[in-house]
């Protein structure tokens, strides 16, 4: 504990403080990271450290982390005395420990996009300090060293919702480089909100991969004891190192229990709950495999649920095709959807539009003229279903047939977000309508499947006696 830096020279002295709270800090010659004794109008003594204040909180209170570990907000107007007794700035660092390498183990590269899959906590602020270098990772999840040798590259530091074309292209290129360097598998740390979007676009941009490409994240951040992060990371690294499936996959919790992860195909996967651990689900098909920390009854970490996948083959040469047209939109149809929206998009030069239509892929008649105008202006309009499960089968009803006649292309059972990524990828390569249609309808990696298995659609209806009996035994 040293008060070496004079108070006026501390850059972050008022971090987040405004108004009367800031005035009080000035008046008493204290600031963020000051160890203080504050006395209020009732003579109550607050001994602790002043923490930075969130910009979204009010400008009336000073946050003190008391020495007993609790935080309290002291209203500035009640402060009668305050003095600094010390100064201790937080050090945002995570100690490195050399990651042990073993020539018998496979080499896995972890590409960072900004999620914190492993971290340590700043106990004063609750802030999470990400662990990223192999040394930091080893400090946080030492079990990784038992699975593979690790190399890491931080590509960017963005939240999941800020991933976009620039990042997709950089990511695809980085994957190509890592494969060329001869790694045995790639893990991509990613926030979960748009993980399946990234899974879809990478499935198109990186084809014919010789090794597994595994997206991983966590639903409970790694600063929590109950986090799914460490287990997800271990399973993802194992998948990259040892799994036979050389595709773009998502590796996330199967059940909500700490049990096993599912490997979902990048094109057929969706986040289905805002906060559950087991949020990702393969839609209209079954997942590729399960992966667990413990071995199954056959002594394996992987249980393959299908054999219809691209096998690992280090001799295979990947095709990296990082194309992306940004003028593409996705529109969720609803009753009373106004045609102006479509006219507006087309006037703004949008080249592609995915519609998530009702039922088998429908929109109402008042929209037809606008759609027709858009297509005539060169926009590619494709239809998916907002039911998520099932096919756009537009030939069944008159409505659908009318739409087909307008030139809307049905995307079969391609998920709306996957269709968005594919349309952007295709339009990034050609503006020839025939070529566009051909590329859209030719599946790259199961984004359209000819058949839907009966267990591709599973939503259990809670409340029914038979379901209650089932979940009572199997809900994990």
């Amino acid at each position: 504990m040293t008060a070496t830096i004079p108070i006026q020279e501390r850059e972050d002295r008022f971090q987040g403080y405004r108004g009367t709270a800031r005035e009080a800090l000035e008046r008493y010659g204290i600031g963020v990271w000051s160890e203080v004794e504050i006395v209020n109008d009732r003579g109550s003594l607050f001994k602790g450290v002043i923490l930075p204040r969130s910009e979204t909180f009010d400008d009336l209170h000073i946050v003190v982390k008391l020495f007993n570990g609790y935080n309290v907000g002291v209203v500035a107007s009640r402060i009668r005395e305050a003095r600094e007794t010390g100064y201790k700035k937080a050090v945002y660092k995570i100690p490195e420990k050399a990651f042990p390498t073993d020539s018998r183990k496979k080499n896995v590269t972890l590409l960072g996009t900004g999620g914190t899959i492993a971290s340590r906590l700043d106990y004063r602020t609750g802030a999470v300090i990400p662990a990223f270098t192999p040394g930091e990772l080893y400090g946080a999840v030492p079990e990784l060293a038992d699975i593979a040798n690790m190399d890491t590259k931080k590509l960017f530091g963005v939240f999941s919702e800020n991933m976009g074309p620039e990042q997709y292209i950089a990511l695809a290129k980085a994957i190509g480089e890592e494969i060329a360097r001869g790694c045995d598998g790639i893990v991509i740390g990613h926030g979960t909100d748009t993980m399946s979007h990234t899974g879809a676009i990478l499935s198109f941009m990186v084809q014919n991969s010789p090794v597994p490409i595994v997206l991983v994240g966590s639903q409970r951040s790694s600063d929590r004891p109950s986090s799914d992060a460490a287990l997800n990371l271990m399973n993802a690294v194992r998948t990259a190192a040892e799994c036979d499936i050389a595709e773009v996959m998502l590796c996330m919790f199967g059940p909500t229990s700490d049990n096993y992860d599912l490997l979902h195909r990048g094109t057929r996967c969706r986040k289905m709950h805002s906060s559950y651990r087991s949020t990702f689900r393969t839609i209209g098909a079954t997942p590729l495999a399960t992966v667990s920390r413990d071995r199954n009854e056959n002594g394996q970490h992987f249980t393959y649920l299908t054999d219809d996948f691209l096998k690992r083959d280090k001799k295979r040469v990947p095709i990296i095709n990082p194309s992306f047209e940004e003028k593409v939109t996705i529109q969720y149809y609803y009753p009373n959807f106004n045609p102006d929206i479509i006219d507006g998009l087309s006037d703004m030069g949008y080249r592609g539009m995915v519609i998530a239509g009702t039922g088998l892929g429908h929109i109402n008649k008042p929209l037809y003229p606008a759609v027709k105008r858009a297509i005539q202006k060169g926009m590619t309009v494709v239809m998916t279903v907002q039911t998520i499960w099932g096919y756009a089968q537009m030939y069944v009803y008159d409505t659908g047939r009318d739409l087909l006649n307008l030139g809307i292309i049905p995307m079969d059972n391609m998920l709306p977000e996957t269709a968005y990524m594919k349309l952007a990828w295709v339009l990034g390569q050609t503006d020839d309508p025939a070529k566009i249609r051909e590329m859209l309808l030719a599946p790259v990696n199961h984004e359209i499947t000819p058949r839907e298995p009966h267990n591709g659609y599973l939503v259990l209806q809670g409340g029914l006696p038979e379901v209650e009996a089932f979940i009572g035994q199997h809900w994990k």
């Binding site: 009010d58 935080n71 340590r120 004063r124 409970r220």
Partner: protein, 640 residues
Amino acid sequence: MLEKLDYQSAGLISGLEVHQQLLTAHKLFCRCPAGLYTETHDGEVLRHMRPTLSELGEYDGTALMEFKTKKEIIYLLNHLNVCTYEMDDTPPFLVNQEAIDVAIELCLAMGMDIIDEVHIARKQYLDGSIPTGFQRTAIVGMNGGLPFRGRNLTVTHLSIEEDSCREVSDKGHRIVWRTDRLGMPLTETVTGPDLKTPEEVRDAILLCGLVARSTGRVRTGMGASRQDVNVSVRGGSRVEIKGVPKAGYAVKLVHNEAVRQVNLLRLKDELNRRGMREAKDIRITPVDVTEVFQGVDLGFLQRAVRAGGRIFAVRLEGGLGLAQFPTQPETTFLDELSGRIRVIACLDEAPIVLSGQQMPEFAARHKVIERLRRRLHMNENDDFYIVFGPEADCRTAAEEIRLRYVDALKGVPQETRQALVGGFTTFERILPGPDRMYPDTDSPPTRITSERVEAARARMRPTPWARFHQFGAWGVPAETTSFLIRRGGIELVDAVVSLTGADGLVAAIEIGQRAKSLKRKGIPMERLGAPEWVQIFDLFTGGRIPREAIQVVASHMARNPGIDAERAVADLGFGIQPREAWSRELQGLSMEDYRIDLGDSDGKRLRFLAGRAMRQLLGKAPAKEVADYLRNRLNQEAGR
């Protein structure tokens, strides 16, 4: 049997952490009902807890200990009382404002200063008792005090927190929790270390309970209030005795802990005398000795081996007799080892650990002992311990034996101990440091304005000491007042006094003592609320029934819900008659059966007669007038 201990010279100090469930409709961070307990489940979730890295990138001691146990944690879920929040699959909803209001009232009752802006923190618990791995908690008030034995008992702070799971079982590496109680609002009141004797601890617990009850906004009944007692002696350390269920139990628990600490300090001296001063002086050697025990008919060992386990002997250099060193009355240092091994190494098959000195079973097995001594290269002053079970756990156990002795070099380790029946305690976990607390980034702070505090103050019921003053002035015994506060009858007395004009003493005695004894006889007196008692006292103050009839009418109403006092009086045939009418009925009252030859006083004869008269006139005449009438009659007889 309590050993004698002079608390003052031992330097005993103690403080409380009183946990009290609040009477709210919903839980603290979700909209599930609070107080709905179930014994069945319709879902089950498996989790593990992983310690988070500390500030220095290392694991905190407790965290590491709990991680070592590698427990499979099972949560039993019932859709009636838990949602996806409790199972940690949904972030917290905004904190329950009703609970904050109750907490404010409790703080005010203890003279506390209310925090201007309440911040939610996380307190790590890795034993699985909370699925997130931390408890959400926040200080609501601080800097308070309670009048206690003529001085001030410091109340450091009060926090509001979510209650934890109820443990169903804990066997080996699998612990099972029921989640119904999880997330219910709870306050923790922390007192200063102001208590100097076990009896003071007991009285302080009672006082805190009384204050909480006086608000009328807390839960009562089994498990609704639990206390942890912090104890230390001079040179010892803070030890937290967790889950003291009743105030009275605290006396023996605190005493025994004081004795334990004094003994552990003596053990430290003994270790030093043997030249053991630093961690490196504690030398152990664990050896797998499963074969040595082949064919030895000790059931627990053979069962462990049949289940695939091993038997380990752990040599402790220079440790002869240390395990037999006394700790709590009737327990020894071996129990300290056993507690740590049970919790941390998950070896829970009795007897958990044996010492070479102690094994009476071995006395007849010289050969086994001799072979063990040779395998372990034992010297004269060494001792050894036997543990058994899965190999990895045996190795953890050996390390725990070493670590416990290392702790013993410093005297008393800071730990949480679980209260057991009989006033003993057993190791529960190492006491965590302040590092286990950190801000909850999921919850915004709650501003508490002075208007809100004043509104709470206006709602508040009188404090216990205000009640003692008020009721004491009426002549009500303190015990009765205390009972009325604890059991919620005090508002009934208020209603009766203010609405019927009844005498406060009469109302307090009838409601606080007489009704209590009827309830003890199984009459559901709790069915009577303020309206019922007001009806009854209206009849009494209006001269319609005598005081003696109050409880008869009340119990008749309690047994027949829905009838009013008028109807009860009619059912019972009560109603005060004119003096001429009832005195006529007493004309024939005889002294038959009364043994006049005993030479009793007139007073005793009068009481006999009065008892007989009142049975005859119950509900029709005031007892006092009847007694006057009879006294006159006896006087007349005597004067004749």
